[in-house]
Subunit: 259 residues, 2 copies
């Protein structure tokens, strides 16, 4: 692993629940040497990716992040386009909806919205990266990805999150086939014991999946009727996002009408 990766991985420890992290905490979480971590942090700081809280001497994300996200959003406004669709979707089905984009072997959350119509809500941390093998979003993306990409993902020790998490490659392949047939992925309690979710992939202009949008529902409210409603709304929402990003559905997608 290169030095750059080691430094950038430090940034992944920031989340809503730990917005400021001290040197020691970084050392513990990363399992690396203190001197190493410190030098990495100094270099990140020099480039504005983290900054130090002068009181606590802890590190937090820096202003460079803001500048870069500005650039990305003004030139490639994925989030701006995704946001209204996800909000609408969440309001339509009355449950939490979220979107995430593929990056490497994980999904990077982009936006989420919970209409909060019910007492119980699905916990969702926008800072947490999502695994491909244990989420419906992951199923949706893998279903339309190149086989060798899927094989590579499955080859590196899939982590077990709940008793329902599927780690067996052949079993996962079955799920992906079902997903391909349906155009919608479903994951029951594979990531969180109390949640079931459905997802639809979104595609770029070459028909490659680049992410997914998803609706997550607490098990107690997941009636077959509600799930069916979600399925159809979700499919439309995903298609709309794909279209607005200038993407096209791949030829083997069930919603793909041959031109």
């Amino acid at each position: 692993m290169g030095t750059i990766t080691k430094a950038l991985e430090l940034l992944d420890f920031f989340s809503r629940s730990s917005p400021e992290i001290g040197l020691g905490e970084f050392v513990r979480r990363s399992g690396r040497e203190k001197a190493t971590v410190h030098r990495h942090l100094v270099e990140l700081e020099q480039n504005g990716f983290v900054e130090k809280n002068p009181q606590s001497r802890a590190y937090r994300l820096g202003p460079a992040i803001l500048r870069l996200s500005n650039v990305r959003e003004t030139t490639h406004p994925a989030r701006r386009l995704i946001r209204p669709v996800v909000t609408q979707l969440a309001n339509d089905v009355g449950e939490m909806a979220h979107a995430s984009l593929l990056h490497g072997n994980q999904l990077s959350p982009v936006f989420h919205f919970d209409p909060q119509r019910h007492g119980t809500q699905v916990h969702y941390d926008e800072a947490e990266l999502l695994p491909l093998h244990a989420t419906s979003s992951g199923f949706a993306v893998m279903a339309y990805s190149a086989p060798d990409f899927v094989a590579q993902v499955l080859s590196i020790a899939p982590k077990t999150y709940t008793r329902q998490t599927v780690t067996n490659p052949t079993e996962l392949q079955l799920i992906l086939e079902r997903t391909r047939a349906a155009g919608i992925a479903e994951a029951n309690q594979t990531f969180d014991n109390e949640v079931t979710s459905q997802s639809a992939a979104i595609f770029d202009s070459s028909g490659q999946p680049i992410g997914a949008i998803s609706v997550a529902v607490p098990m107690v409210r997941a009636t077959p009727d509600k799930k069916a409603r979600i399925r159809s709304t979700l499919a439309q929402a995903a298609l709309s996002v794909t279209r607005s990003l200038g993407g096209v559905l791949p030829v083997n997608h069930p919603m793909c009408t041959p031109t």
Copy 2:
């Protein structure tokens, strides 16, 4: 210079005007070896900081940026707090206002707003880093910074942008003294030949300057009357931002009322 910095510097080449950059272009701009640049880009890509446009094979900013800016904004909402103040300021004075945060020896733009009441507008690229020695924002920040920080900034070859750019350290020290006395910095045509700007620093909870908010006006509209109006509005706006960020004015600030 460390490897991490070299890689992160590549990200600074992205801007509104060049949202996608190819390998060759990176090599040219950075002046580094092609192999090196390529490896850095690959590593940045693996971490989601850039992604490749599958058609053009050029690189653009990746989804990780979005995730991190989400975290930063939800936990340390500087931009969310700054935005309404800057917008209000711009509307009040009828000219473009912007805010930027200090990072290293440069200012990182955070937000800008132009009410567009006039035919000519000040050009402003939110992706461009601003130099400390040639902008009013820089004057405002340096005026309240530690002397050795200022000395260090001035020591490294101040670039000349216009005929009015001040590069002489003693002359700059004079400007800073005037700024300290006024609480407001002014820069006439030091960065752009057709623009004059005024800035007020914003401070953190220890009274250290962390950035500035600024109003930029085309020379042709910069009447003494208008400038005076801007000065008072700007001072209030900056104070308001400092307060809402939990900051305090330093003891040597003219607006600091001894407690």
